[in-house]
């Protein structure tokens, strides 16, 4: 691991992304204590997130809805400009590039979206959908060559190339997701970000799509960043897992470590909540609800629901620390040794 530290495919440093949702000028005005004041409402989606992904990894980001995992994915590949922080792709800084300068990088990273009903243009045939990125990124390519490529990639994702003339609505959900994967593969990327790639699909189809992703990775030497809330899938396929809560990274460790010895109190609660076949084990009960990212709690964002929280947790934001190589946790309790390492 250490020798490859320099050749990370993607690294992100101190990423911050806030969204201003206060609307137009008039909507921002409020009346308080006899004065008119202008007020901004800001969603703090990402707060100081850092990590890096090595080539060939399957890096998963998990967390509950609204924790900022999709924002993280989109900021990392330059779909959102970060408010502060740095994004490096293949050693080069990409977060401040103009759209034109970004172009060569765009072909090297692709994205697969959750809902295959929304992510495919209903008025384009499968052939048009698949050809579009190729013509865009390789303007010199001939029609015949693009056609061959479409056939080859469709074959690879298990959709009969004879159906290239059909429209998305003629396919089932699973097949549409195969087409989305095909579209991502068309430009031979190195890095694919998949945002909840299977959560819109039926159980028996989920396994098919996951296997397809794993197969494509082996054949093409891809690196994945997978965003999901499905922890059992994460345990099954990932090499490393990052757990997010309210825009902050709680824990980042190799999948084995995370599932055998979860450290952060939130990770423990999350893992114990996975419904497992035949398991009647009690899960860790979290009290309270997830706070909103508009009014972030002071100190550690998790302190309101954490069974181990004390006075320090309420005031001081925990820094990401590495108790062992390859493992990062952000928790005062772990740092002070207040929380026993191995639960149960």
């Amino acid at each position: 691991m250490n020798s490859r530290q320099t050749e990370k495919i993607l690294s992100v440093r101190n990423l911050v992304k806030h969204f201003d949702i206060s609307g137009g000028f008039l909507e921002q005005l409020a009346f308080e204590k006899g004065k008119i004041i202008r007020r901004h409402t800001v969603v703090k989606a990402l707060n100081n997130v850092s990590f890096s992904i090595a080539p060939g990894e399957i890096f998963s980001v998990v967390g509950e809805s609204g924790c900022g995992k999709s924002t993280l994915a989109r900021t990392a590949i330059g779909l959102y400009p970060p408010d502060s922080g740095e994004v490096f792709f293949g050693g080069e800084r990409i977060d401040h590039l103009s759209p034109r300068q970004m172009l060569p990088f765009r072909a090297r990273m692709q994205m697969i979206f959750q809902d295959p009903y929304a992510s495919l243009n209903p008025r384009m045939t499968v052939r048009q959908i698949l050809e579009e990125p190729v013509f865009f990124h390789r303007p010199g390519i001939s029609r015949a060559e693009a056609g061959d490529r479409v056939a080859a990639v469709m074959e690879q994702v298990g959709v009969d190339p004879q159906w290239a003339g059909r429209y998305p609505h003629e396919f089932s959900g699973g097949q549409r997701q195969r087409i989305s994967i095909a579209r991502a593969l068309m430009v031979d990327p190195e890095f694919i970000v998949a945002d909840e790639p299977i959560s819109a699909l039926d159980v028996s189809i989920q396994a098919q799509i996951l296997n397809l992703l794993m197969e494509a990775r082996e054949k093409r030497g891809l690196t994945y960043m997978i965003i999901t809330h499905d922890l059992s899938v994460v345990a099954h396929i990932s090499s490393r897992v990052a757990v997010m809560y309210l825009g902050s990274l709680c824990e980042l460790s190799p999948a084995d470590q995370m599932f055998d010895h979860p450290r952060h109190p939130y990770t423990r609660a999350l893992l114990s909540a996975i419904p497992r076949l035949g398991s009647k084990k009690k899960h860790i009960r979290l009290t309270g609800e997830v706070p909103t990212p508009i009014r972030l709690p002071s100190g550690c964002v998790f302190h309101g629901r954490c069974p181990y929280a004390d006075a320090r947790c309420k005031t001081e934001i925990p820094l990401p620390l590495s108790p062992e190589p390859g493992i990062i946790t952000a928790c005062h309790g772990l740092e002070e040794g207040r929380i026993p390492l191995s639960p149960e």
Binding site: S65, V203, V290
Partner: protein, 336 residues
């Protein structure tokens, strides 16, 4: 022995332009007082239609074409609308997937709760509020007195679903039908809601029909499972038996396709079921699972398999080729 609910040979059809479509085809199961049943299957398998049929909420062009639904001795399939209203939302309550869709956004929680109660009982608003408060406490809503005057948007997803459950409990029903009650919620909240349902079933002696696609959830909550595929129950029996030793190749496939937390590694493959579920308009001849089945024989393409009892166990399977229960179990359970 009489059951709380007995569904026998239920058939639901939808009258469409090109002819009738059979959405539910000969579904039978029973539920006793306080018992918990899981209806499992993929989307389009007919689980929700079964749930709706029980409370007679199949709307046109759908209709119940055959079979009966005995609830406390009454056949709900033939009950006139007037009488059905005494049962629906009163003795049988239903909980739906998305709490934001089931709650009325422009009415306060208190109004919605009292409305339900006053429709079924001859009581005053004050009395209704007292009952509402009691039920809100049961589902662990903090400071319920203030909550009554709040609107649904002021609650989080998990709280909303708890309020929906409180509404379902208002009339002390004997049976609750929960249609994917936690699918729209996060895992930590899902676990809480499932615990709550379990607890309530025990304390109120309520029957529960849990409709879900998630075998993990079902195995945690229910005592019995019925697995549905293309409108039929393909396998049913005690949860324990079905999870540890599934007999129908579809159930086997579903269980094997689940990511196994014990068998993991970077890029690890899952066992998949090939193909997709057929649409109801183009069901294959014979057993509807045969195009995806790995143990099919010649007979599967010709004859529809009847549900048959499994020797020595209280379970049924509808498959020509399935053998009797066999050790060793297909799925190793953790910490068993």
């Amino acid at each position: 022995m009489s059951h709380l609910l007995e569904v026998k040979n239920l058939e639901v059809r939808f009258a469409l332009r090109f002819g009738d479509l059979t959405a539910i085809d000969g579904v039978s199961f029973t539920l006793d007082k306080g018992e918990r049943l899981g209806l499992v299957g993929e989307s389009g398998a007919g689980k929700s239609v079964t749930g709706f049929a029980i409370i007679n909420l199949i709307s046109k062009p759908g209709y119940i074409s055959r079979g009966h639904i005995l609830f406390d001795g009454e056949n709900l399939a033939e009950l006139p609308g007037e009488k059905m209203r005494d049962i629906r939302g009163n003795r049988i309550s239903m909980i739906f997937q998305d709490p934001m869709m089931t709650l009325n956004p422009v009415l306060t929680i208190g109004t919605q709760m009292c409305e339900t109660l006053m429709a079924h009982r001859n009581i005053s608003r004050k009395q209704a509020e007292a009952v509402a408060l009691e039920k809100l406490r049961k589902v662990y809503i903090s400071s319920p007195e203030q909550r009554l005057s709040q609107y649904p948007h002021e609650f989080s997803g998990g709280m909303r679903q708890r309020i929906v459950i409180a509404i379902a409990l208002l009339t002390d029903p004997a049976l609750i039908i929960a249609d994917e009650p936690t699918t729209a919620l996060d895992v930590t909240i899902q676990a809480e809601i499932m615990d709550l349902l379990l607890e309530l079933c025990a304390s109120e002696d309520m029957g529960l029909i849990l409709i879900t696609h998630d075998l993990g959830v079902v195995s945690r909550v229910t005592e019995k499972i019925a697995v549905m595929y293309a409108g039929k129950i393909v396998e049913s029996g005690p949860t324990e038996n079905i999870i540890t030793d599934p007999l129908h190749p579809y159930t086997k496939g579903l269980i094997r396709a689940l990511p196994d937390p014990e068998r993991r590694g970077q890029g690890e493959r899952l066992q998949q079921i090939p193909g997709t579920m057929p649409t109801l308009t183009a069901l294959p001849r014979g057993c509807s699972f045969h195009p995806r089945c790995e143990i099919k024989g010649g007979i599967c393409e010709k004859e529809i398999p009847e549900s048959r009892a499994v020797k020595g166990q209280k379970r049924e399977v509808a498959c020509h080729m399935a053998e009797n229960p066999s050790p060793p179990p297909v799925y190793e359970r953790e910490g068993a």
